[in-house]
Amino acid sequence: MSAILQEKETTLYLGPQHPGITGNMMIELKVTGDTIRKATTHVGYLHRGFEKLMEERLWMQCFPIVCRICVPEPDPNEENLARAIEELEGREVPERAKYIRVMMLELSRMATYLLWMGGQSGSAGLYTMPQWTVGDRDYIIDLFEELTGGRVYHMYIWPGGVRRDLPEGFEGRVRKVLDYLEQRLTDYDRLLFENAIFLRRAQGVGILDKDMAMEWGVVGPPLRGCGIAHDVRKDEPYEVYDQLDWEVITHEGSDVYSRAMVRRKEFEQSISIVRQVLDKMPSGPVHNPGPNPLKWRVPAGEAYVKTESARGEFGYYVVSDGSLKPRRVHVRGPAYVHGVSLLERMLVGANIADTSFIMNSLGTCPPEIER
């Protein structure tokens, strides 16, 4: 039976309804036996026309929209748009607000990594891990909810600072969650990162060549998983990242395992960054108010800002013509390259069983590809 299938080329549609696909997209695979010969991605199932909608909205009304661009990790989007507007306006941000922003970004990075750990191990069939990590992620989500009122979408970072100050005793609760997560990491290590079968499945699978990674514009953990130390937080420090003590984490190997290890170590590092932020946080105002949002005109000009999200560089190109509404907001999600052209290339020659494994390790996120 398998000998017959070896010779015949089958077309296999993974998605859009398929449990192995991260989100709503489709990969059309040409398969002989268990080996993939050709992969074609089809995206657009989540297209909402955000960039068009933003041209129809006031500047302030754009904030509820941008956070919906990347569903698992909305904060880098808000941060990007807020920073772009600040750059255009030349508005100052209070020091305390900068620290709170870094804390938000790092907490959201941790939440995303927890979700990713679940996805990566779920795609390999280890269902205990998602149950643990997604459950633990809810502790971070609870912090978000207390601070911002929203579980998933926060709309917390806005031009000139953040929406509200930390509530009473919030710092202590953050520290408690950090301690808990740090202690849980040993469990995760024993269950996933040191699991013999996981190592066997992950090592040597989904190799991304070093030169190719540079050439193709790969960003984030996949790039650092090739041993190349690039991180927007170091290359072009924003907020207060240059005043904190941390290193860019890299891992040699270029395979699924090294990407997993980069993420795992960055998770640990994020805990330490949040702790530093809490230690150093100054007091003072958290918002530098601007004009009435209904009559708010942003000076004409353009700005490109970027933020390191959990999956890599998030870039926003914002053009203003001096009117009440943005002229153009163009979003570059990290998955834009990872999810379409790079994935098509990397899947060739891979085993069908590894498709969703590789997808997860690249951090493909369809909503930010099509927006």
């Binding site: 068009k52 129809e56 050439e215 353009e302 153009r328 570059r332 379409v340």
Partner: protein, 190 residues
């Protein structure tokens, strides 16, 4: 100020020396804007990539300027070594928007160009694979053009639910549909 912008000035000088038609301006530290008018874009891009080490193509944006009757394509390039971001702007005629593809230089430019083709209607000569990207069976104006009115399109194609346009309570409509009472969401009567 001058010594902090040293790298930027150097790049500006070398671009000006090689390509006369490029107008270079420094926006701020780490941001250079190049307005490229006329000449061959792939040659300029490969110059930036090979000689000035702008290896990373971040994205290609398309901006519509109907008042000038032009499209503006913005190529965002990033140099890992120098931490500088260059925006190369190319203006195209809105009626016959056509330019050369950059896929020989960056293979992943393919997706960006496909998107711009679909969203603005710009033709890319020599693009290997110009199939549908995001939209399916789209036969209206390309949606990212300024003269495409999304409100009018929506009014024409989709049905509004009663309550959206006349400020009626949506719960009322749903309750009527199911022949049930409107659920009470106030906790006052408890």
């Amino acid at each position: 100020m001058s010594d902090t912008l040293q790298k930027e000035e150097q790049i500006k000088a070398s671009i000006n020396a090689a390509f006369r038609s490029a107008k270079v301006s420094i926006q701020r530290k780490g941001r250079i804007i190049v307005e490229f008018r006329g000449g061959i874009l792939p040659a300029f891009a490969s110059y930036l990539k090979e000689y000035l080490n702008f290896k990373h193509l971040s994205m290609i944006s398309g901006v519509d300027w109907p008042e000038d009757n032009q499209f503006e394509l913005v190529y965002h390039l990033w140099s890992y070594e120098q931490s500088i971001h260059v925006m190369v702007k190319v203006r195209l005629d809105r009626e016959a928007a056509k330019t050369k593809t950059l896929t020989p230089l960056w293979e992943h430019a393919e997706t960006y160009e496909r998107e711009i083709h679909e969203m603005l209607g710009v033709e890319f000569e020599g693009h290997p694979n110009m199939r549908d990207f995001i939209l399916e069976d789209w036969d209206d104006l390309p949606p990212m053009r300024r003269d495409f009115m999304t409100r009018e399109y929506v009014d024409e194609v989709y049905e509004w639910r009663k309550g959206r346009e006349d400020a009626q309570d949506v719960r009322q409509t749903i309750a009527e549909q199911y022949n049930t009472e409107v659920p009470n969401f106030n906790n006052e009567d408890k």
